[in-house]
């Protein structure tokens, strides 16, 4: 299953990076979101996938018993998802403001600050 996921992750990265290299400001953000998903899936997969169980200790037990999925990557992804959401929300509003100010969706028009 990890193999299938590896291809999905690679595909998401490719799609995200391709979108980021477009000239549209909206596509740029869409690309960022795709890459965010890809990174989360990558952590999930790198921590290995398990179909059985959830990382919750049943009320009959004091400890988690095998088989269970690794809770640590899950916690990391949760943190990453929330952080990613915050940053993406900011980025979305930023591009809206940039669009309002520059009056175009074209990133190529936003090159006045370099050099």
């Amino acid at each position: 299953m990890e193999t299938l996921m590896a291809f999905v992750i690679g595909g998401l990265y490719a799609a995200g990076l391709y979108m980021m290299m477009r000239r549209s400001i909206v596509k740029l953000v869409l690309g960022l979101v795709l890459i965010g998903h890809a990174a989360n899936l990558l952590i999930f997969t790198a921590g290995r996938l398990t179909r059985e169980g959830i990382p919750v200790i049943p009320s009959t037990n004091e400890v988690l018993v095998e088989p269970y999925p690794d809770p640590l990557p899950q916690a990391l992804i949760l943190t990453a998802i929330v952080i990613g959401f915050g940053v993406q929300a900011f980025a979305i509003v930023l591009l809206k403001r940039a669009y309002q100010t520059v009056k175009t969706d074209d990133l190529d028009a936003m090159n006045t600050t370099d050099t």
């Binding site: 980021m20 400001i25 740029l28 960022l32 890459i35 965010g36 890809a38 990174a39 989360n40 990558l42 952590i43 997969t45 790198a46 921590g47 290995r48 640590l72 990557p73 990391l76 943190t79 990453a80 952080i83 915050g86 940053v87 900011f90 980025a91 930023l94 591009l95 403001r97 940039a98 100010t101 520059v102 990133l107 936003m110 090159n111 006045t112 600050t113 370099d114 050099t115």
Partner: protein, 507 residues
């Protein structure tokens, strides 16, 4: 048990929170900000003192033993970096009191800048690779907001580049952490340092992950060819923000590089060294050439940030006790030098209304004090003895010659000349040159700094003066500072003390 390690995180955190709670009350926010940054400076100095006296300090958050919880750890290197946060924090906050407009203050400038310190201090002190990512994000989001605060067109344009490329770096970072966990099953950096060498079959993959980290941190650290976001954005916000960015943000990237490449990724040394040396060389050369091409003071100085980072990387690449100590010393030096230069630029802009060197002029005659305050950091940056920058470069060059890395030494020498060249450009254009009108007469109206009321002059000039003094002290009295840097480099190279401090007796 060790409260001193966590204080540099808690102090700015609480300062920021109280600042947010005082939303709308400008005076209260200013007061909280000044008090908070003063306390942060004191806390950081205490930390450095404790570390230098008693060795590496660590605390396990939540009292969960390492490597299971999150460890906060301060070795000499990170303690020095935290002190630099303290010094630059207080300087910038004081400077910002008279330079940041009311509107920005009302929108939370002060709490945001402390949130930035939270992220930076967290990144310097954490002993956990995923936690490092989290503090990076705190630092980044705070810097995003500070960068675009004001909503001017240039800020928004620069902001998009800054945000996009840094988010790409974050995605890389996250991927690298995920893969590293997939290889090792742990996140604690000291633990990683122990576990990584035992992965016999996956050593090759460890190098691959190391390269991923190199790029993730390299984008944040503005290495060649990843630095584009920096010249695109650093000159757009108010100067106080630029100062704190230039002082701290890229340095966190370099700090992290030094940390992981001394602590975790020490295998495959030859390959890593070649890669780092090539990048270091190109970074210093392209950066300084970028600076040479500029006539806008902030842009010029922004490119210099990149160039100087090449030197920091050179110290890491050479990987000797001397070279790493040089990097540590250089880091402190360049933070001071670059900040002082930006701050002087801010004063010039305040007086003349422009950062354009072609339009500036006459300040040598009318404001000798300001001229001195520029000349010292400028010469220090160019590596003129006996200022701080000289010893940093000297140690690097010596380390390079000792390890027979002649190409990088030659590059660093050439870059030194070009640095001197571009520093004298500012000196000649903004200070020596007189503003002239078409008819050739001297232009009246170069405002000397003395025309400002003392209540403005003091917050403007005092931070620069203190920083300039520090550069002289670090140069003429370099011994205690360099000794500390050597201690930092020895700790990093031996690693056992670090691992011991974090993991204690186990493992």
């Amino acid at each position: 048990m060790n409260v001193v390690v966590i204080l540099p995180l808690l102090v700015p955190f609480l300062t920021a929170i109280f600042g947010f709670l005082a939303w709308g009350n400008r005076q209260a926010q200013r007061l909280i900000s000044v008090v908070g940054s003063t306390v942060l400076l004191i806390a950081s100095l205490i930390l450095l003192w404790v570390v230098s006296q008693q060795g590496i300090q660590a605390t396990q958050a939540g009292d969960w033993p390492a490597p299971f919880g999150i460890t906060f750890v301060a070795d000499t290197f990170s303690a020095i970096m935290v002190v630099m946060v303290g010094v630059m924090g207080l300087s910038t906050v004081i400077y910002s009191l008279v330079t940041i407009d009311v509107e920005r203050e009302a929108q939370g400038f002060h709490p945001l800048i402390h949130m930035l310190f939270v992220g930076v201090c967290g990144a310097f002190l954490t002993g956990d690779i995923f936690n490092l990512y989290v503090w990076y994000e705190v630092m980044l989001i705070a810097s995003f907001v500070l960068l675009v605060m004001g909503g001017e067109r240039s800020q928004l344009e620069g902001g998009i580049k800054y945000v996009t490329l840094n988010l790409l770096a974050s995605a890389l970072f996250l991927a690298a952490v995920g893969l590293l966990y997939g290889l090792t099953g742990t996140l604690n950096m000291a633990h990683l340092s122990e576990v990584v060498p035992t992965l016999v079959e996956q050593q090759g993959m460890v190098t691959v992950v190391a390269m991923l980290f190199l790029f993730a941190f390299g984008i944040k650290g503005a290495l060649f060819p990843l630095f584009f976001w920096l010249p695109a954005s650093y000159h757009t916000p108010p100067i106080a923000v630029t100062v704190i960015f230039s002082a701290l943000l890229t340095k966190v990237g370099v700090y992290s590089l030094i940390r992981v490449f001394t602590l975790i990724f020490t295998g495959d040394a030859v390959f890593v060294q070649v890669v780092l040396l090539v990048i270091a060389g190109f970074t210093m050369v392209t950066g300084v050439l970028g600076a040479v091409a500029q006539y806008e003071m902030r842009r010029l100085l922004s490119f210099h940030i990149i160039s100087q980072i090449g030197y920091l990387l050179m110290g890491l690449a050479l990987f000797t006790p001397l070279s790493l100590a040089a990097s540590v010393f250089f880091m402190a030096h360049v933070i001071l030098a670059k900040s002082a230069l930006f701050l002087v630029g801010g004063v010039l802009n305040r007086l003349a209304g422009t950062y354009d060197l072609k339009k500036l002029g006459g300040f040598y005659r009318v404001s000798p004090v300001l001229a001195v305050l520029f000349f010292i950091p400028a010469m220090s940056l160019a590596g003129i003895p006996p200022l701080s920058g000289f010893w940093a470069k000297f140690a690097l060059i010596r380390a390079g010659l000792e390890t027979q890395q002649y190409a990088i030494v030659a590059a660093s020498l050439v870059v030194s000349v070009l640095t001197l060249f571009s520093m004298t450009k500012i000196w000649a254009e903004a200070f020596l040159k007189e503003k002239e009108q078409e008819d050739g007469k001297l232009k009246e109206g170069v405002e000397p700094v003395a025309t400002l009321p003392i209540s403005e002059r003091l917050p403007l000039l005092a931070p620069i003066a203190v920083i300039a003094m520090l550069m002289i002290v670090m140069g003429v009295g370099a011994e205690p500072f360099f000794n500390l840097a050597l201690q930092a480099s020895e700790e990093m190279l031996t690693r056992t003390e670090y691992v011991q401090a974090v993991l204690g007796g186990q493992v």
